[in-house]
């Protein structure tokens, strides 16, 4: 009988998931993905649509960038090309997603509007691809992410982004009805809200198991 513990094999994935969603939340802790966070969080429906799109693009981006980095750039000693290569891959994926959405879900395509091509410049996507080729900060080994770990990290980082986005949209929909002082209307109160959310998420910092 092989020495196989389900808990042990799944532990890294649990660590990565909790880590990516709560402890190092992309928006509220790492400051990645702020432009869409501010721009798309006014309505809950667009927020969740954007979140889904981001999760999808992050996963696809990791799927392509990790192998290309590990099996082509590293052996060829050309890791300095990673920024250029990654951003081109991401731009192509977003183009692809745009075409698919236009064809199969025109309603979502319309409501996302100009924000869809903006996913390319969403620093969160490029951020997750770069983080995935560095050392895994969530497990104890300190080794680089394996392919599966990188995929999980990509998905969960997207989930964390969506969580922050959806929470923000829920709050902002209610803020619309509140009596906000004139100088604070619009961006300022959104930032202060994000700040308060960020304080809440600070509670997760340093957590490890």
């Amino acid at each position: 009988m092989a020495d196989f513990s389900l808990g042990e094999t799944l532990l890294p994935f649990l660590q990565i998931s909790v880590g990516a969603i709560f402890i190092q939340n992309f928006v509220l802790t790492r400051f990645l993905g702020l432009c869409p966070f501010m721009g798309v969080s006014k309505k809950l429906s667009t927020a969740s649509g954007m979140g889904m799109a981001v999760i999808f693009v992050m996963t696809l981006a990791t799927l392509f960038t990790w192998p290309i980095y590990t099996f082509i750039l590293v052996p060829q000693d050309s890791t300095f090309l990673k920024t250029i290569l990654f951003i081109l891959i991401i731009a192509s994926i977003v183009q692809l997603v745009e075409m698919i959405l236009k064809k199969h879900s025109p309603i979502l395509y319309e409501s996302l509007g100009v924000f869809l091509p903006l996913i390319t410049t969403n620093c969160a996507i490029l951020g997750v691809t770069i983080l995935n080729i560095e050392s895994n900060p969530f497990t104890d080994s300190g080794e680089a992410f394996t392919f599966i770990e990188a995929i999980v990290n990509g998905i969960m980082s997207g989930v964390g982004f969506t969580l922050a986005l959806v929470l923000m949209a829920g709050i902002r929909e209610r803020l619309e009805l509140a009596d906000i002082p004139k100088p604070f209307r619009g961006l300022p109160i959104a930032f202060i809200t994000a700040g308060l959310m960020s304080i809440a998420f600070l509670g997760f910092s340093g957590m490890s198991f």
Binding site: L28, T29, R30, F31, L32, G33, L34, C35, M38, F80, L81, K82, T83, I84, I87, L88, A91, P117, L118, T120, T121, N122, C123, I125, L126, G127, I130, L131, K182, P183, F184, R185, L187, P188, I189, A190, F191, I192, A194, G195, L196, S198, I199, F201, L202
Partner: protein, 200 residues
């Protein structure tokens, strides 16, 4: 016709400030503004990329077909960011450590792609350089304001030197929430000044 430099500077720093007015480049604005040295370093690096990419894009704009506009711009921007990253690693390793992931992220700083699309692709190289310079200085100025507030309040320091010995700073300003709160209040403050000006 060459643009009027002081006029462009006023536009870049005040009336169309990238961070506070256009809300571009927010990620690095919050991510590296926990100390003035980092903010300054990031601002200057971004300004360099902005000027360089604006120049090249203005020079080759006629040769690029409209459909591959955005990918071409991205390649040019990514090239200069990679160069900046390598030069920093070689000659300013301490700053490189502190700025971390935000250096490669200059590529997706919506400010640079935004200026390439909105200005450099339609104006002469010289004017594009001036625009890049003005916007870059505006971005750096915004970063300086944010990082000064955050470093003074959050670490009781400026440029790494203590301000008032023995006083415990409000540490939250150097952490993530502090970034959000600071920029929220700064924009609110600027809005207040604008409203007051409109009333008179």
């Amino acid at each position: 016709m060459i643009s009027n430099i002081p006029k462009e500077l006023k536009r870049g720093v005040i009336t169309e400030n990238p961070i506070f007015v256009l809300a571009l480049g927010l990620c690095p604005a919050l991510g590296v503004s926990s100390s003035v040295v980092n903010g300054l370093g990031m601002g200057l690096a971004t300004t360099f990329v902005l000027i360089a990419s604006n120049l090249i894009i203005a020079m080759i704009k006629k040769a690029i077909p409209a459909q591959v506009r955005i990918p071409s711009f991205i390649i040019v921007i990514a090239t200069f960011v990679t160069i900046v990253q390598m030069v920093m690693k070689a000659y300013l390793p301490g700053l490189n450590d502190q700025l971390g992931i935000f250096i490669p992220l200059i590529v997706v700083n919506c400010l640079i792609l935004g200026r390439a699309e909105a200005y450099a692709s339609q104006h002469s190289p010289i004017n594009s350089v001036i625009d890049g310079f003005a916007m870059g200085i505006g971005f750096t100025a915004g970063l300086l304001i944010l990082s000064t507030i955050r470093e003074v309040l959050g670490a009781n320091q400026f440029l790494g030197l203590t301000l008032i010995p023995g006083v415990e700073p409000i540490s939250i300003f150097t952490l993530a929430p502090g970034g959000f709160l600071t920029i929220g209040f700064v924009i609110a403050g600027l809005n207040y000044l604008k409203i007051k000006k409109e009333r008179t």
